[in-house]
């Protein structure tokens, strides 16, 4: 009897431990609303703790900067912007709870986030039901805007969902073209992390790569919680590919690269925007030279429109760098500011009743020159800016290899 009860207890405990990993977290207080006029809150949902926090904190601070600039310039007369940032710990469940919390806060007229496509899936419906605008600076999965059959029959999924980032339907093929045409790589080994983003990105890459004439030497998936990739590494090495394409994010791809290179794999590892972060190079323990990543948009530092953002961000002295999505987050927040501005202007300077739905309508008409270039949304809610850049690791730092727009 006792042995079977031990098994039952251990199963119960395993379950309890798993559940405990998703406990709730205290919200940040919106602060004292002493400022004059109506307070409009811009919600932020991103991973603010955990391995992806470098990206998430960059999103939060960039939105805070946008709110500060809007307040300082009196961009919308009579309206003071506040930011309410919630932590989703890259978990869809947390994201959905945060979405519900943001919907419940009546002062929230728009939300910037989330970072992860998988989290976005769980939030879209909540925001749609409340007609609350959501602008993601980082989601790249095409299905979020265009539906599961995005390559045959595109269909707008949610009226309230927009994004300033380009999709993987463009990013994957762009990477494939660069690998095949510019690097003359013919044989790819594909690895993903089984999450919405990684699987979609690898599928888009594979489709274009084989269409160009490349072959797939093999494919595998990793478990994001497990840092021992030795078995996968051995398979990839035995497959004899000349490039390894990874769909996922840097907390896994860094150690994966480290283990690949230590095992004697000499071919480059290529990935998407989830890999484009200095932390990738850190986690790869100096083994990342020659590796590549595509990221959405032109390099923020190279655009004239971005210089003011970079200077303002430095002047505001935030504790964390703006990271890969800072520019997009600023633009996303600014789009919400512009949406609110249009709504308030149409209602003779006051925030109207049912402002949320009106902000959603206004967002689809927004158009301005932002940090990352022209910011506007097409009929699916996607960014009209289709710029992408390939970065390569040289001497332990990401450098621009090629920037361009993808066309079919």
């Amino acid at each position: 009897m006792r042995k079977s009860s031990l098994l039952v207890v251990s199963i119960a405990v395993t379950g309890a431990l798993t559940l405990s990993a998703c406990g709730s977290r205290g919200e940040k207080k919106a602060g004292d609303d002493a400022a004059a006029g109506t307070v409009v809150t811009i919600g932020v949902d991103a991973p603010l703790t955990g391995p992806l926090s470098a990206l998430g904190l960059g999103i939060q601070h960039s939105v805070e900067l946008a709110a500060k600039v809007a307040n300082d310039n009196k961009e919308v007369p009579g309206v003071t912007f506040k930011v309410k940032a919630l932590d989703d710990k890259k978990s869809p469940q947390e994201g959905q709870q945060n979405a519900t919390a943001l919907v419940a806060d009546k002062s929230v007229l728009g939300v910037v986030g989330p970072l992860n496509s998988g989290v976005a899936q769980s939030m879209q419906q909540v925001f749609e039901a409340a007609s609350l605008a959501e602008v993601s600076p980082a989601n790249t999965n095409p299905a979020l805007t265009q539906g599961e059959k995005f390559d045959t029959e595109k269909k707008r999924q949610f009226k309230s969902y927009f994004r300033t980032a380009t999709t993987d339907a463009i990013q994957g093929p762009f990477a494939a073209q660069y690998a095949y045409n510019d690097l003359s790589k013919k044989k790819a080994y594909l690895i993903d992390d089984k999450k919405t983003y990684g699987v979609g990105l690898v599928a888009a890459f594979q489709k274009e790569f084989t269409k160009l004439g490349g072959t797939v030497a093999g494919s595998d998936h990793i478990d994001e919680n497990n840092l021992d990739f030795s078995a996968v590494v051995t398979k990839a090495k035995a497959a004899g590919a000349d490039i390894i394409y990874y769909g996922g994010e840097y907390p896994q791809s860094g150690p994966l690269t480290d283990q690949l290179k230590k095992a004697g794999v000499t071919v480059p590892v290529m990935g998407g925007d989830g890999m484009y972060d200095p932390e990738y190079i850190n986690k790869a323990n100096k083994n990342a030279d020659g590796d590549l990543a595509t990221s959405v948009g032109a390099p923020v530092e190279s655009l004239d429109s971005a210089k003011k953002f970079v200077a303002d961000y430095a002047a505001a002295k935030y504790a964390d760098p703006y990271a890969a999505y800072g520019g997009y987050s600023y633009d996303a927040a600014w789009a919400i500011v512009q949406g609110v501005k249009a709504v308030v202007a149409a209602n003779s300077g006051k925030v109207p009743d049912g402002a949320r739905a009106k902000v959603v309508d206004a967002l689809s008409k927004v158009s301005f020159d932002g940090v990352t270039g022209k910011v506007a949304f097409d009929e699916y809610g996607d960014a009209v800016n289709k710029q992408l850049t390939v970065y390569v690791v040289k001497n332990g730092a990401w450098t621009v290899a090629k920037s361009g727009t993808y066309s079919g």
Binding site: R2, I222, A263
Partner: protein
């Protein structure tokens, strides 16, 4: 099949890591019948202790020189935390129903993880761990890293030392006696409180040794690293027969090899392509556990503790 030797090596190294952690679960269970779910976090603090030791050493110290000191620092931190946990969290509950210390262990596990995440600088996204120089070393079809040698040497060494300690010394025999019957052992003049503290301390020391192996092999330590590693080690302990120290090591090795083999070869079986690969390794590991427990409920090497329930 040309990957087989390398995959076996991968599995054995991973298994040695699991086995070293599993010893802590099995010793504590053998003596106080407590599943110490905070053990995964004790393992994690050992890694951070070693990292801290490395960071306070003058920069540029050769890792070969630093390694013994890191071992010392890591073991010290892990043992202190484990002994404190035993003294202040578990001992007051010794007479309580079994579920009370179990829930305490889970609470302690979450608390330790959060404390390290909040207060260790830069721990949120994981800290990179110093790497041994040299390598990779190629032996025919097998490529090994310096860190792999560390585990290959540390695991048998620890295991041998533990076996000698438990079998040959007075304290070790005291442990066996306490495991068999704590009340009688007490009557025979054995200080059972001391024996229990030693069991916790030894388990923590082994976990710290494993933790340094983890850091060297995977290049980083993170506050969350103890969760899955602890769960796997616990699985290894149950697989080998909980309460049995040899079983813990054997269970770890079997589990590690099973994971490597599942990743490498399940995909090759016709019709199983969707169920293979790295993301399914955990599933196959637990399938193995269930099958073993169905066929042999006492685990591979059986349970040596007397049944008192």
């Amino acid at each position: 099949m040309h990957q087989l030797p390398q995959q076996l090596a991968n599995g054995l190294i991973l298994g040695a890591l699991y086995g070293l952690i599993a010893i802590g679960y099995t010793m504590v269970y053998g003596i106080v019948q407590l599943i110490n779910f905070a053990h995964g976090e004790i393992f994690m603090t050992g890694g951070f202790g070693a990292l801290t030791t490395y960071l306070v050493l003058p920069s540029g110290t050769s890792l070969w020189l630093a390694l013994p000191l890191m071992l010392l620092g890591g073991v010290l931190v892990a043992v202190l935390i484990a002994v404190a946990a035993e003294r202040f969290a578990y001992r007051p509950l010794r007479g309580a129903p079994k579920l009370a210390p179990l829930i305490t262990a889970i609470g302690l596990s979450i608390a330790l993880q959060q404390v390290v995440e909040q207060f260790y600088p830069g721990a949120k996204s994981g800290r990179s761990f110093p790497q041994l120089p040299g390598g990779p070393y190629v032996f025919g079809p097998v490529t090994l890293q310096p860190a792999d040698f560390y585990l290959f040497i540390a695991a048998p060494l620890c295991m041998g030392a533990l076996a000698a300690f438990v079998g040959k010394t007075r304290t070790g025999r005291g442990m066996q006696a306490t495991a068999q019957d704590p009340d009688t052992a007490k009557l025979m003049g054995i200080n059972t409180d001391r024996i229990i503290v030693i069991a916790f301390a030894l388990g923590a020391a082994f976990a710290a040794v494993a933790s340094i192996g983890w850091g060297l092999r995977y290049g980083q330590v993170a506050p969350t690293m103890g969760f899955l590693a602890g769960l796997k080690a616990f699985t290894a302990a149950v697989l080998g027969g909980i309460g049995n120290i040899y079983g813990a090591m054997l269970g770890g090795l079997v589990l590690g090899v099973a994971e490597a083999m599942a990743t490498a070869y399940i995909q090759e079986i016709p019709g199983m392509h969707q169920l293979g690969g790295g993301s399914w390794a955990n599933v196959w590991a637990f399938v193995l556990l269930i099958v073993v427990l169905l066929v042999r409920p006492q685990g591979l090497l059986g349970e040596r503790v007397a049944d008192r329930a």
